[in-house]
Amino acid sequence: MEEFTKKYWKDYQKEIADDNFYYERSCIRQSFFPGSEAAFLKILRDILGKNIIDDPNQHTCTGIGYHSDIVPFDTTMTVVARIFSLMKDHGVNNFIPSCVTSFGIFNEVVETWNHSPEEYEKTKLFLKQATGRDFEIPQNISHASDIIYKYRKELKEKMPYRLVNRNTGKPLRVVEHIGCHYSKLFAKKSEGGMEFPKVLVGMIEEWGGEVIDYPERRHCCGFGFRQYLVMANRGYSVANTKKKFESMQPYKPDFIVANCPGCTMFMDRWQYTIAEMEGKTYDDNKMGIPVLTYEEMAGLLLGFNPWDLGLQLHQVQVEPLLDKIGIPYDPKDKYVGKSGNFLGEPEKPENLVTVYGK
């Protein structure tokens, strides 16, 4: 039986490269969660000692435009080909997108080229005509969360903190949310496939937390591009997120962690929206459930300064979570910029309780 399980599980595992990466940043993460990508690069370079290229010439993958029906697929393929050509310039061939939408786009483009060689030839021609450049398909495409998942045990050895409530000694109860475009588009390209996505569960369990299995666990976060971008549809987007919150609320999660920029953003910001529009919050203290990216979670446990990780830019305040884990922070530094100047406090929400502006 065990042998059969092992054989069966093999189908759900993917090959994740171990060094010489090209990092493709997300378009939106640097605005919403500005410390996450810097933390990822720091973890890979300083803690794991990997070679990772952070190229200033990189650009969008067109994901948001493509899924909003304003960028045609031929354009997307050519833009993706240009990113691959930049990777070729640096002499590396393992590609790491930071964004789950991009991860879906790169896999979709590469699958298209594998299935339709004429599309590959056409893209080569387009790129040559437009830029004079040439490209190669990466040997390995892994999402940034795959890399952290792969090295979760090595990172655990360097972590001074665990996902444990220091007051009770019990594991923190964590809601994990996988971006739809990570495992639902190309199940074989994800760790654990569409049925058993393991990428965040692996990290949480390894680092001492307890994963909550709630009814709407695999429901979309509500982003859905067109639902959000068109204002008339925006309520539909919030309704989906609300459905998830209502489903997870009885399990009293300590925090939510997601591997997708859109999911993290919407699950964080929509808590504010729902609180302001309907007066509802989904925790006992009316502060909301903190939402972290996996890099922020790893960074916190590795002892990074929470304000260097950009946690002050979250809508739902993270201080109660930091207190639970026992991570020290200086409240005075929260809104002090890199220059050392005070940046000012954000406007206080009407219904969502915050720790600033008391």
């Binding site: 549809n233 309520g235 919030v238 309704a239 459905k243 929206t273 529009m277 009407e350």
Partner: protein
Amino acid sequence: MKNWGFKIPDSRTLDLDKEDLKLYNKIVEKVPSARRCIMCGMCSATCSAANHTNFNFRLVHHKFRMGMFESLASELDKCMLCGKCRMLCPRGVNTRAVIYNMRIILDNMYYKNI
């Protein structure tokens, strides 16, 4: 409360744990063939009333089964009880009798226009 120019619609989730089969069981008692319905929609495809209204046997049957009686009475009013759907039903459901008995049950509850 703030208004940003959009509303948050209520969830349309059907909670099967809260399904109240009490009234539906009464239908089944009177028309046992109702149980055989597979919701294929053949009845709706041939429905004369559906040509002029948005009447849908499959929908009213489902709503009744789920205990969603709100606005169901006026929906049932659209059926002419012609029985054409019964002739086409691949499962031999007496659809006409199902509608008729739904009307009687709802009438006993609050439907007064039969």
